[in-house]
């Protein structure tokens, strides 16, 4: 495409953002909520065992935040690369 270099920069930045957010996604749900649930349960969040809380409450809150962070960061990327593009 015409703007190959900046297009690629945009895509690289997008990919980096997506994969970092997905790393957090996997860590809180599969990591803290399932694999590490037993050790985490030695601590408490409020009155609930911490691992149990992560699985049934915390991970869901993090998911919502992740999607909004993505939308908001993509706004910034769109803005930045559209200016460079001059299109």
């Amino acid at each position: 495409m015409e703007n190959k270099s900046s297009g690629n920069g945009y895509w690289r930045a997008t990919r980096r953002l997506i994969f970092s957010l997905l790393a957090i996604w996997a860590f809180v749900s599969l990591g803290l909520g399932i694999i590490l649930v037993e050790p985490l349960n030695h601590w408490k969040i409020g009155e609930l065992p911490a691992g149990f809380w992560m699985a049934q409450q915390g991970s869901i809150y993090v998911f919502v935040v992740l999607i909004f962070v993505y939308a908001w960061q993509m706004d910034r990327l769109d803005h930045k690369y559209n200016k460079d593009d001059d299109s």
Partner: protein, 563 residues
Amino acid sequence: MTVETWTYLLVSLTFFTYLYIGWRARVRDTSGFYVAGQGVPPLANGAATAADWMSAASFISMAGLISTLGYDGSIYLMGWTGGYVLLALLLAPFLRKFGKYTVPDFVGDRYYSRFARVVAVIAAIFISMTYVAGQMRGVGIVFSRFLQVDINTGVIIGMIMVAFFAVLGGMKGITWTQVAQYGILIVAFLLPASAIALKLTGNPIPQLAFTTSDIVERLNQIQVDLGFLEYTHPFANKPMHDVLFITIALMVGTAGLPHVIVRFYTVPNVRAARYSAGWALLFIAILYTSAPALAAFARYNLINGLHDQKLEEVRELDWVTKWEKTSLLQFTDKNNDGRIQLSPNKEESEIKLDKDIIVLSTPEVAGLAPWVIALVAAGGLAAALSTASGLLLVVSSSIAHDIYYRLVNPKASEKKRVLVGRIMIVAAIVVAGYFGINPPDYVASVVAFAFGLAAASFFPAIILGIFDKRMNRDGAIAGMIIGLSFTVFYIIANKFYGMKPWFGISSEGIGTVGMILNLTAALIVSRLSTPPPQDVQNMVESLRSPDHPGPATILDEDSEEFH
């Protein structure tokens, strides 16, 4: 007024609202019919997606399932919400940028293949039909439990409702009724949940009451005293790796469900698709974070209220006699001591609780006014109808758009295409209604199918189509066929022919393996065959650039689609 009068009143009131909205939103063109003219604001699309997604099962059965499974119920909570992160980050914005009407459209265009399109259409129809039969049955069950109407009559009333607003308004009518249905179902779920939280803990916010009160700790103690494992004990029912596989399969399957994906085609632009995914998950999270609280509170309350009580005293409670009649609640005084005891041992236990009773009985157990009970009925119906209508539209668009228009008669006029779409919705409703009235025995177990198939077919095909420019027709087709046939084989062999699970992975979790097989096969085969043609590579490139006009304008109708 009695509960029954209230239920008739609220149910008819909500039904008239849906009909009115359907009438107001009637459409004439294909864009309005399939994607609501791509004019749905992000917030409204979020609410519609939430209603589309949350089915009769989410509304009525999920809290009950969690209540029985304890920690292990987290598979549904994380699986069915975590999928939205995948959808929002990996699929929705790119598919919106692509800009066509259906998932098979993307698969067919990206892989320049009639065959790939047909495989996608068949998978979409199969996934949606298995799912919708359960929704129709759900409508019938709500009617029969709350209004003592025959289940079959209930199914037929539901069919007529959906037919009216879906046939007239297509996606536009469905969207705006789903927004209204979300409002009703969330209020209907939260009111009883808050009431029971307030009653047990003095805090009306279920999430806070769940986290800060000592109810779960006390429930743990009661469970141990009765011989159960603690409520919060991880992996009491399934080993850790199975929990992991099921959660991943549900996440990936959720992201690959065509009726959810297609909702993101209805917003005005890519930015709106990103934000509306956020709103959708926020709206879903309101129910999904209250459900575990309700599950624990209701379990605590029921065990406290029933265990070791005198049978005749228990039977004096109104709600007990009512639910005993529906056999959702059963007592048998096996040891003849005049009291009823709950026990982990099924042979000894004298109380039998159906999972659905957790949500259905809460308003009565918490002593709420009759209109709240009626509202729960209206909420259950809203959840079932909204999901059914979204699924039926996918079936209709798969046949009318992907098969009739794209493959059989590409010269069809707008008017004719909308007409075929309407006829297909009616046909799909009739088939769904038939399965609602004569449910095949395996309905409950085929839910695993919908998620497993979506995980093993669409998800990898779409992801690779966006993130791997080198992915070609041969790779995608090989991947879908291997992923699908493995998953179908495993589920059928395990569910119906008693095959022992491999490595302790249950059929609910096998979609994860199907997805990995699909990805591996696709990557290997694509690297051994010729790269995709230049115009397809250009299309992928344009999906990856900021603010480009939809690539569907590059790969237009008459471009060489079938090389």
